[in-house]
């Protein structure tokens, strides 16, 4: 067994990046013997007492852990305090079952129910339930749930690891977590990311034996009893990772990016409010693109209040920094039942973006009302997607102005925010001077697909989908030049802005404002800094 494991590498999925090298410790659910059932009263009392002990242990853990972890544990305490759940177990005990068997059966039923859910979130919660199940079982079987003895800096390997077990391990000396199953969206993965502990999940079968291990959270690999060469390569990867993170993060904390003496504004693209929790987000100059389609992805169309709350949250986060919210960009490759048109032969050239919103004013009006109310709460800009001609911008402006007037007439605080357009239809880029737009934001993904006549969802065309094609660059340059002449801000929010290889070309085009994915912010700032330091391209 040991020999077969030696030098082998296993690949899983990344749940938390980072590197760990240390003793390999396999953790499995404790296998204490089963209880011999006492009298009905004994068993009922044993269950009550085990629940009390478990509640106390979890409360203590929560007090030490605090924050996110405490909230996870609070759910377990609430389950122990659930009379409906407990009375069903007491009923089984009343029928002669032992306390541990009755408890296990009830919890297993819940776990199976969560695992059958189509929802990733609920699936991930099943490990919280398994954690609770094992804790109470352990107490019922006389184990009293003593802490796991794990050497400092160990690579801990388990089938799945419940959050409370994660918290019992002393991670102060580093270490890593390798799970055979598990999920990157589980609570324990959130905890590992928060603590900076590398974690790889879904490794499949890994031998139980092994003395030392290397865990690479980036490459999602686990190497057991590594050879000298394996260790050498691992250390090289770890050092590269450390250097690039350290220098990128140091640059992030500097006040602003600049290139050839000019300030380059770096904003972020967000899909949903939670994206702002990413620690790097605070260093952005604002939100350059907030997509609102996620509001449509849940069941039904969102009402005005739901939308207002979401927009208001982002504006409060941004404080005085600008927040550009894009109106619903549905259609194309983003169909929405009850909103987009079915059966278009060519949806990318169909009724999508602003075209769709103007065709369904009853849905668009709800969003514009929420935006008009949010506009008084911060530095809001509203961006219209998929605009072809100036008439469309004016039609949207007219509708928006009427909505603002209507709200104000009713005494609701509202105002017309700055209104701008996405530049993604080649016709708009070529007639840019015809738009009375407060700002322009270049949607390079769609612009490239339309200019190059390549469906961007067609993998066979990937090699041809070059955003640096001279025709695309020409249109970006013209838009940036027009902005500079007319004094209108121009930014770019497509994937190009998050790709370091495209940055020199974008700066040469005259762009001084880019909106990037939060996870790319540090790297892009570093890229600009290096170009600036080296005198540009």
């Amino acid at each position: 067994m040991r020999d077969s494991a030696s030098g082998l590498a296993y690949r899983g999925r990344t749940a938390s990046i980072g590197f760990a090298q240390g003793p390999f410790v396999r953790v499995d659910a404790g296998a204490n013997g089963e209880r011999v059932a006492g009298t009905l009263v004994d068993e009922a009392l044993a269950l009550r007492s085990a629940i009390d002990t478990a509640s106390r242990q979890i409360a203590e853990l929560a007090a030490i852990a605090g924050g996110e972890a405490a909230q996870i544990l609070e759910f377990q305490v609430a389950l122990l305090d659930d009379e409906d759940l407990i009375s069903a177990i007491l009923a089984s005990i009343g029928e002669g079952e032992a306390a541990d068997a009755a408890w296990r059966a009830a919890l297993d039923e819940q776990i199976a129910d969560y695992n059958s859910a189509p929802d990733e979130y609920l699936k991930a919660r099943s490990s919280d339930l398994a954690d609770l199940r094992d804790r109470v079982l352990n107490i019922l079987r006389g184990g009293e749930g003593h802490a796991l003895r794990i050497p400092s800096g160990a690579v801990v390997c388990a089938d799945d690891l419940p959050p409370s077990r994660f918290l019992e391990i002393d991670w102060s000396g580093g270490g890593g977590l390798a799970l055979l199953h598990g999920s990157p969206t589980s609570h324990v993965a959130m905890l590992a990311r928060a603590r900076g502990i590398p974690m790889v999940v879904q490794l499949g079968a890994v031998p139980a034996a092994g003395a030392t291990a290397l865990l690479d959270g980036e490459g999602a690999t686990l190497e057991l009893d590594p050879s000298v060469e394996q260790i050498g390569l691992f250390e090289k990867r770890r050092e590269m990772h450390r250097k690039s993170r350290a220098s990128a993060r140091a640059i992030l904390r500097r006040p602003a990016a600049s290139w050839r003496g000019e300030r380059i504004k770096l904003l972020i693209n967000i899909q949903r409010v939670e994206d702002l929790d990413y620690p790097d987000a605070q260093y952005a100059d604002g939100v350059g693109l907030m997509r609102t389609e996620f509001l449509l992805s849940e069941r039904g169309l969102p009402d005005e209040e739901t939308q207002f709350q979401v927009y208001d949250q982002v504006l409060r986060w941004a404080d005085r920094r600008p927040v550009t919210i894009r109106t619903f960009d549905a259609g194309g490759d983003k169909p929405v039942p009850g909103f987009t048109s079915d059966g278009e032969a060519n949806p990318f050239l169909g009724v999508r973006g602003l075209r769709l919103c103007l065709a369904k004013p009853e849905i668009f009006a709800v969003q514009l009302r929420a935006l008009a109310r949010a506009a008084v709460r911060g530095n809001l800009k509203v961006m219209l997607p998929m605009v072809t001609s100036a008439d469309e911008l004016e039609a949207a402006r007219k509708l928006f102005a009427e909505i603002v007037q209507g709200l104000q007439a009713k005494g609701t605080a509202a105002m017309l925010p700055e209104l701008g357009i996405m530049v993604e239809v080649p016709a708009a880029a070529l007639s840019i001077a015809s738009f009375k737009s407060a700002f322009f934001s270049i949607g390079s993904n769609d612009l490239a697909q339309y200019v190059l006549a390549c469906d961007r969802s067609n993998g066979a065309l990937a090699p041809m989908m070059d955003p640096l094609h001279p025709a695309v660059i020409e249109l970006i340059t013209r838009t940036a030049e027009h902005g500079r002449r007319a004094g209108i801000p121009v930014s770019l929010c497509g994937d190009m802005a998050s790709d370091p290889r495209c940055i020199p070309a974008l700066l040469d085009c005259g762009l001084r404002e880019l909106s990037v994915n939060v996870s790319a912010l540090a790297q892009i700032k570093q890229t600009i800094d290096r170009l600036g330091g080296g005198g540009g391209t």
């Binding site: 996870i72 759910f75 009379e83 759940l85 409010v273 849940e298 209040e305 709350q309």
Partner: protein, 102 residues
Amino acid sequence: MLETSNVNGQFFTGNVRLVHAVGMHARPAVKLTKLAKKFEAQISVRVAGAADWINAKSVAKIMAMRAAHGSIIEIKAFGGDAEAAVTALVDLIATDFPDGTA
């Protein structure tokens, strides 16, 4: 949203839209059951149109309800403080489970 109506003697009902971004998951479920337990009244909830009413004081059942973001939650309560219970629960859900409640 905050409609509380006296239907029949001591029954009180209310409807409220679930605005929480991820739906009725662990944290909101814990807050809801904690608040419900502060009242004497029997309190039941369901996703609008669902067949069964479930006990608002059972976190396991609230989780199993799998109420999605944007769904309408119906609340009914019976007993001495039923009206206050419905008002409090509607308020908790409508204000998106603020911290420091329950």
